[in-house]
Amino acid sequence: MLSIKNLHASVEDKEILKGINLEVKAGEVHAIMGPNGAGKSTLSSIIAGNENYEVTEGEILLEGEDISELAPEERAHKGVFLSFQYPVEIPGVSVTNFMKTAINESRKANGKEEMPANEMLKLIREKSELLEIDRKFLSRSLNEGFSGGEKKRNEIFQMAMLEPKLAILDETDSGLDIDALRIVANGVNKLKSENNAVLVITHYQRLLDYIIPDFVHVLMDGKIVKSGGKELALELEERGYDWIKQEQEA
């Protein structure tokens, strides 16, 4: 699904990613953990195509195709979804209208007709139930005045609507209480299939109790320094990141 090879990236001449290699197969859940400032959010932004970062070396392949030169919307049309750590508020544009625009733009790019209104309504109903989202919520302006938890739940609702091949969850657990966390994780788990993949970016192990990863990678100083199974996350929770640093230096 996703194959990242020797990825180097910088912002304003400061190198942030220093040679990332990552293979994510369809049907897998990968977690990327690491201390603050390790480059976790940068990595997710770069996969999604944020133009503030410059890829200086390496490639990003989605189903074998290099997407590193594509615009963010083109990557989205190919099935990349990024759940933002800080979703943006857009006054005057309702959640429903935003989703209609997003879905139909994607369909247009993939040579499909616009989704018929009744089908759209059905999809919205189905996915909002999955995320336990109240109907009234959908006519509110996107993210405006939403609580932290509502914003994150709304991100996963959008993910459910767009059905991406690769979903990247950037610190989705931050700002969530335990109930909201369970709803969000439950949503992600239900959307998981043999045909898609999930990349969970997180500082804490907490979310991984609900979304069980197949692989855990530790990102430090712009490189993946250690990979393992789900038990690695527990070890990191217990021992922090210093021991890995020491292991590295030894």
């Binding site: 615009a71 919307e73 989205a76 857009i90 005057g92 625009t101 997003a102 733009e105």
Partner: protein, 438 residues
């Protein structure tokens, strides 16, 4: 001949043509004298520092409408709020078009300035209100006063709630090579009365037009007036709009100005308070490109205690467009407990676009709440990335963000059909079809 000379020498002919013995003779004469001594404003004057009229004064304008030009409703239907029933006072090349209008005297007066000025039954109202709040010093206003003869006259009696909005539209056919028109509107809204008015100036072809318009609005006690100005004219059209509003106690007046097109547009919007607990609202959305120029020059004169004023102006400038916002809030010593707010947000899309923003607060009372905020920026890149990430292409994402930016002002439009119309015009300006109404 220069335009100024042409106007002054036309004055006598103008007065002969109408009625030289009219009671307004003295008013007109002193007005033309004021204009003669001051002339057209130049950039040397502080109030006109950022707007030059030089280029547009060079055209050889006809200063009187020569003939009656007829246009078919079908040609201009799109400029009307045709989805709903409205009162209409319509002018073509400065002359009243009875064919396009729908005036009334049934329980309220929505008719012509010329008949109000000439018919004895309106004399009392004219004596009480005409030229009473408009400036006698400002040169362009006095130029209009000198030639004041035609425009809309609206008089709403006490306690009358007018169901239908009133549309006042000035069309220019372009049959003259260049035309100058000077509409004069008078709106008197009685105690507890409520009225909604939409004003528009529209050219129908590319011949230059210069409109120097004066509108006086009097809101009596507890009157509610919602006034909307749609400025979406051709590149050849120039508009100087001088609006003066007098408010008595507990009245609420709002003016929304939508500036989406025209060559040079200058809005002089002045609010004066005569009573307590008055509420004044001034809002605007400006979206222009090319070399268009829009200048908002506002004044709220707080002279009495416990009054509020709310200003909110949003500007988006593309290409080499220039915008000006000069917002003056004057609080007299007596105007304690004033609550005056001013917000001006600007987005520059073009590298050559310019905004000149100048809040001007002059406060002489010590117990007031006055605040102003001004921002100038580009579109938020994070927000752009967010929308693109959801598959929305750059152009559409930009348009959505600009909607979001203007939304606060759009939301306060009280006529739903007008709100839809404005939204549509904005979508057209931004060159997108979003497939839904916002």
């Amino acid at each position: 001949m220069e335009l100024k000379e042409k106007l002054i020498s036309s004055f006598m002919a103008f007065e002969e043509q109408i009625d030289i013995h009219s009671a307004l003779h003295d008013v007109r004469t002193s007005a033309i004298k004021n204009f003669e001594s001051k002339g057209f404003p130049t950039k040397k004057e502080e109030a006109w520092k950022y707007t030059s009229l030089n280029a547009i004064l060079k055209n050889d304008y006809s200063v009187f409408p020569k003939q009656e030009n007829i246009i078919e409703f079908a040609e201009v239907k799109k400029y009307f709020l045709h989805e709903i029933d409205t009162h209409k006072v319509i002018f073509v090349d400065g002359k009243f078009s009875s064919f396009l209008s729908a005036t009334t005297h049934d329980g309220l007066d929505v008719c012509l300035m010329s008949s109000a000025l000439n018919k004895p039954k309106y004399k009392m109202v004219i004596d009480e209100y005409f030229n009473k709040i408009a400036s006698k010093e400002e040169s362009l206003t006095t130029l209009n006063t000198a030639f004041a003869n035609e425009g809309a006259y609206v008089n709403i009696p006490k306690s009358k709630v007018v169901e239908k909005p009133i549309e006042i539209i000035y069309f220019s056919t372009g049959k003259e090579d260049a035309l100058m028109v000077q509409p004069r509107n008078l709106v008197v809204v009685g105690e507890n009365a409520h009225v909604q008015i939409i004003e528009r100036h529209q050219s129908l072809n590319e011949n230059p037009v210069l409109t120097n318009s004066v509108t006086e609005i009097f809101a009596q006690k507890r009157a509610i007036v919602d006034y909307y100005k749609i400025q979406n004219d051709l590149q050849s059209a120039n508009l100087i709009d001088n609006t003066y509003i007098s408010q008595k106690q507990e009245s609420r007046v709002s003016v929304h100005t939508f500036s989406f097109g025209g060559n040079i547009t200058r809005n002089n919007l002045n609010f004066y308070h005569f009573g307590e607990r008055i509420d004044s609202t001034l809002k605007g959305i400006t979206i222009i490109g090319d070399k268009q120029h829009v200048d908002h020059y506002t004044l709220v004169h707080h002279a009495t205690p416990n009054c509020e004023s709310h200003q909110n102006y949003k500007t988006i400038l593309a290409d080499s467009a220039t915008g000006v916002f000069n917002g003056k809030i004057y609080v007299e010593k007596e105007a304690q407990k004033t609550d005056a707010f001013q917000q001006n947000n600007n987005i520059l899309l073009g590298d050559k676009a310019t905004i000149n923003a100048k809040p001007q607060l002059e406060i002489f009372a010590d117990d007031v709440k006055c605040s102003h905020g001004c921002t100038i920026g580009q579109l938020d890149e994070t927000a752009m990335f967010y929308m693109q990430q959801r598959g929305i292409p750059k152009k559409e994402a930009k348009a959505l963000l600009m909607y979001a930016f203007s939304n606060e002002v759009i939301e306060s439009i009280k006529i739903p059909e007008l709100k839809k119309r404005i939204t549509k015009i904005i979508a057209m300006k931004l060159g997108v079809n979003l497939g839904f109404d916002l």
